[in-house]
Amino acid sequence: MSSTLDRLVMMANQIGRFFTPQRGGDAVAGIADHLEKFWDPRMKENIVAHWRAGGAGLDGPVREAIGRLKEAKRGAPLEAGR
């Protein structure tokens, strides 16, 4: 069974594949907005931590989008929920 992180990577790439061919050419903004609006903080923190650690398996635009999340801009991850 795949771990949560594997699944998050897969989900993020799936989102990326939808936004990449959209009109306007700003797939990154679309992906970042989707993650911002639909992922719970611990999911975002999880994927950001993975991104910091090199982001293995993440497609290009997805990687860039994760970098735009506020969790990524905030620096060190917060402890979930406290």
Binding site: R23, K37, A80
Partner: protein, 946 residues
């Protein structure tokens, strides 16, 4: 309280706009042209005696009881088959008519058993009434002639009997089965004196094609076709109008009662979703409410291997509160959450999400719509600006081309299917896109022009190919696109779909459907004057579910099939209140009326009214909750009326997640599968035991009315209030109507809704507000809710779930007519006579390759897990595709399904799983272990503790 009586006008209403005036018994009356004299008479309150006519079916004119005299016309025409004429002068009662009617009744009664006093229909029999109405006092022929009074009853149907000795051969049942239900199960066999009603090929009802909808029982004027519950209990003394709690059609019923005992459920003619029709579930399958397995007392335990202990409500509720508070103190505010139920009322759903957001202080709330129609919400909102279907059900009466994709209406939405079938019999054309040859493809008097049996998982490719034909063959409705859609988006989309990879020739190879059929279907859809799309979970439950919904929206916009009657994009919603649970803010990212939780203005409004700060970050969706539970950050859950263990994909993963939590609270009627992992069980109430509203697939808000005291002591909404209170978050409501008032205050699309309004007008479709005080049957008239219609690019991305040498077949899942979802209710009714177990449909070719014979046990394995069930060999499925249902926990079809999901919403990909099928000799090891655990977990300690 008294019985709700509905007037029988004798013949159906005429839809003509031309009006005609005539005189009946000296009174002038004006009615639409085409109305029968009988109906016109009833309009002024004159009941012409009748037996073979009833307003649910076309007149037939066989009993000769409804004769009238018309000035200037010879003879005595039947008023049911004679249409009104301008200036007609009609008499309904003359000496001649009286004599003829008496004669007719004498003949009927001489061949009828005279056991009125002990007959189940006593007091509700039209034959009895007519004998009275015509003043019959004796029968000159005696009762000794040749008659039918000794004929055997057919008791084979679990819910109604057929007693031919009481039959007057009026053929109302036959016509109801044909015209209302569209099944054609009944015929009149023989002629003259020998003629009699017969099911199928003179078979018992239960073996015939009869689907037990009850339309014939409803139409029968005598006791010939009677509900068994009526025979057993007796005639009801009062009735209350309420809404079926099974599927998203949302049929209105009269619950006919004796005291607090339910005698029968009778479909309500004024119900705007069902117009007097019903299916076997709503009409008959309500026995679960009194099933011996229903749990009526709250129960707790420390660990899931302990037996349950019954406790008082107070102890149970306090335990919920103290556990949840403990978990939040230890693991953080985000460590708990809740799941609202699409089976509960709008008010109850609203309260659960309010409890989570206001009381738990987070947004970890989700609902079973996650696993069915969440892509509909996202997709339609992106395209049109509203997360719901565009039409009312009546709309299908104006449709010329019906496109059904990924839906099986005759099984899953039977009452709406009957209306659709009626329209198809009138000549509308039909396209079916489905891997299986569903019943709609070919049935009596209906044949689809195109059936595209595509490979599971290729919907988006197929819809792009249809769009390709529309764009490249000049079939776009340019005016509509120019007037109502975002032109730039359209042009970008049009050039995308026109690319060669989207041509039917290329897509044909991927989908396994010939390019010619795809082109033909596309042309038919685009050329219909009014074309309407109806879709179901076969569209949404895919990794590209949301993409496919957008692709459907694109098709409708490109061809201008929106914004009027007869057209639209119509999701056929699964559960009774799945639309409502979404509307009520059950999703972790949005408040009621689909407003994002991060929107400050909306959030502030709720904060002010609720007196609590709300979190602006979205919460966890159901699958994310499971992952977080396994990771140890999600520890407690309140599940109202939803069996996540049985209904969610990848059962083993769900098991592990539930087992990892410290406090699982289940509120349900029965110890469902999820309860095997619960620490606190709160017994729920049925739809008969509470007040509230359900919202059906056409956005129609219908009243649910309490007809009996909750057997468990509390309605579901009261339980949520008690938990909130114990957690220190008071929600002071004394009745669900007050909850609806709050919803209306906070939700612009519900602003005009109140129980008072619903009691007055029956039902309304949201948006219901100042602009539309009586609701909105058809949406997007003269423009889209979001402004301009939005074309999204719907590139086909094949699912990661792929067939290979180990798993060479594709499994797709669905449901059948007599059972409902996880079957918690229907399995506890006589509906099991039609479906005792889940079976695996497999094509003869695939079966033969594996040495599988019809009825054999087979093992069904996927990458996620395996189960066993019996095989049914059929060419309804294409080679390479197998199909099963998920109604029975013994099978646990979801142990096989994977946790791939829709990219936008995480809606699981139930419809595509790569599997292998092999012969087997009985249940698998896992099934045996599962059943052992379930049995062990369901033990209830004998002595009540605490």
């Amino acid at each position: 309280m008294s019985l709700v009586h509905e007037t029988d006008y004798g013949t159906p209403v005429s839809k003509s706009s031309e009006m005609v005036t005539l005189t009946i018994d000296g009174q002038p009356v004006t009615v639409p042209a085409g109305t029968s004299i009988m109906r016109a008479a009833m309009d002024i309150g004159t009941k012409v005696p009748k037996l073979c006519a009833t307003d649910s079916v076309d007149a037939f004119g066989s009993c000769r009881l409804c004769l009238v005299e018309i000035q200037g016309r010879p003879g005595t025409p039947a008023s049911c088959t004679t249409p009104v004429g301008a200036g007609m002068v009609v008499s309904t009662q003359t000496e001649r008519l009286k004599q003829i009617r008496k004669g007719v009744m004498e003949l009927y009664i001489s061949d009828h058993p005279l056991d009125c006093l002990t007959c189940a229909a006593n007091g509700d029999c039209e034959l009895q009434d007519m004998a009275g109405a015509v003043g019959l006092r004796d029968v000159r022929y005696g009762y000794d002639g040749e008659n039918h009074t000794k004929q055997e009853k057919d008791e084979s149907n679990p819910y109604f009997t057929f007693d031919p000795s009481k039959c007057i051969v009026c053929s109302r049942c036959v016509r109801a089965c044909e015209e209302v239900q569209g099944t054609f199960a009944l015929t009149i066999q023989g002629r003259g004196f020998d003629s009699k009603v017969s099911a199928g090929m003179a078979e018992p009802f239960v073996d015939s094609e009869c689907v037990s909808c009850g339309a014939c029982v409803q139409a029968c004027p005598t006791a010939t076709l009677s509900e068994k519950s009526l025979i057993e209990i007796g005639q009801p003394e009062h009735s209350v109008v309420t809404t079926c709690a099974y599927c998203g059609v949302g049929c209105s019923f009269k619950a006919e009662m004796r005291g607090e005992e339910l005698v029968r459920m009778v479909p309500y003619k004024d119900g705007k979703a069902n117009r007097g029709h019903s299916c076997v579930k709503g009409r008959f399958a309500w026995g679960y409410a009194n099933h011996r397995e229903r749990i009526l007392a709250p129960m707790i335990r420390e660990t899931i291997d302990q037996p349950w202990r019954e406790v008082t409500w107070e102890v149970a509720i306090n335990r919920v509160a103290s556990e949840f508070k403990r978990l939040q103190a230890k693991h953080g505010r985000l460590a708990i959450g809740g799941i609202t139920s699409s089976r509960c009322t709008n008010e109850e759903t609203y309260l659960v999400q309010k409890l989570v957001r206001g009381g738990f202080g987070n947004n970890n709330v989700d609902t079973c719509a996650r696993v069915c129609h969440s892509p509909t919400g996202y997709g339609l909102r992106t395209a049109f600006g509203t997360s719901a279907g565009t039409q009312d059900f009546d709309s299908v009466e104006h449709t010329d081309v019906v496109l059904i994709i990924g839906a099986n209406p005759t099984d899953a939405h039977p009452v709406f299917a009957s209306r659709m079938k009626k329209r198809l019999r009138q000549g509308a054309k039909l396209i079916v896109i489905d891997p299986r040859r569903i019943d709609m493809v070919r049935m009596p008097h209906i044949e689809a022009q195109y059936h595209l049996p595509l490979r599971p998982g290729t919907n988006a490719a197929m819809l792009n190919a249809i769009a390709h034909v529309i764009v490249t063959e000049g079939l776009v409705n340019e005016k509509f696109v120019r007037d109502y859609c975002d032109l730039d988006a359209f042009e970008y989309w049009a050039s995308f779909v026109a690319e060669p990879q989207n041509s039917p020739e290329t897509v044909g190879l991927m989908t396994g459907v010939s390019a010619e059929s795809i082109r033909g279907a596309a042309r038919l859809y685009a050329s219909g004057r009014n074309s309407a799309i109806y879709y179901g979970l076969g569209v949404t439950e895919h990794s590209q579910g949301t993409t496919a919904v957008m692709a459907l929206a694109n098709l409708a916009m490109a061809t201008g099939n929106l914004g009027r009657e007869g057209v639209g994009v119509n999701p056929l919603r699964g559960q009774n209140n799945v639309q409502g649970s979404c509307d009520m803010g059950s999703f972790p990212h949005e408040l009621s009326g689909y407003r994002h939780i991060s929107d400050d203005a909306t959030r502030t409004m709720f904060e002010k009214l609720w007196g609590r700060p709300l979190d602006a970050e979205p919460g966890l969706r159901i699958p994310n909750m499971f992952d977080a539970a396994i990771d140890g950050t999600f520890k407690g859950i309140y599940v109202q009326g939803e069996d996540i263990l049985q209904s969610d994909p990848n059962t083993k993963h769900v098991q592990a997640a539930l087992a990892a939590m410290e406090c699982v609270v289940v509120q349900d009627l029965f110890l469902n599968e999820t309860a095997n992992y619960a620490h606190i069980f709160l017994p729920g109430s049925t739809f008969l035991e509470k007040d509230g509203t359900f919202t059906n697939a056409e956005r129609r808000i219908n009243r649910v009315r309490k007809v009996m005291t909750p057997k468990n002591g509390m309605a579901d909404w009261e339980i949520t209030l008690a938990i909130a209170k114990a957690m220190g978050f008071e929600m002071p409501y004394s009745h669900p109507s007050e909850v609806m008032d709050e919803i209306a205050r906070l939700t612009p699309t519900f602003a005009g809704v109140s129980f008072d309004l619903l009691d007055k007008v029956g039902s309304v479709q949201w948006p219901c507000n100042e602009k539309a005080p009586l609701g909105t049957p058809v949406m997007h008239i003269g423009g889209f809710a979001r402004g301009k219609g939005n074309f999204m690019i719907t590139e086909y991305v094949p699912t990661d779930e792929k067939v290979g040498p180990r798993f060479p077949l594709l499994l797709t899942t669905g449901r059948i007519l007599s059972q409902y979802n996880v079957g918690a209710q229907t399995r506890r009714t006589d509906n099991v006579v039609w479906h005792e177990e889940d079976v695996l449909e497999i094509h003869p070719h695939d079966a033969e390759e594996r040495g599988v014979r019809d009825g054999d046990w087979v093992k069904l394995d996927s990458r996620a897990g395996g189960t066993t069930l019996r095989a049914r060999i059929t060419d309804r499925v294409a080679p390479g595709v197998v199909y099963t249902t998920f109604h029975h926990p013994n099978t646990q079809a979801n142990v096989v399904t994977t946790d791939f999901s829709d990219w936008a919403t995480n809606c699981p990909e139930y419809k595509v799983t790569a599997v292998q099928v092999s012969p087997s000799n009985g249940p698998s090891e896992w099934q045996r272990e599962y059943n052992e655990q379930a049995e062990h977990s369901r033990r209830i300690a004998k002595v009540a503790a605490e």
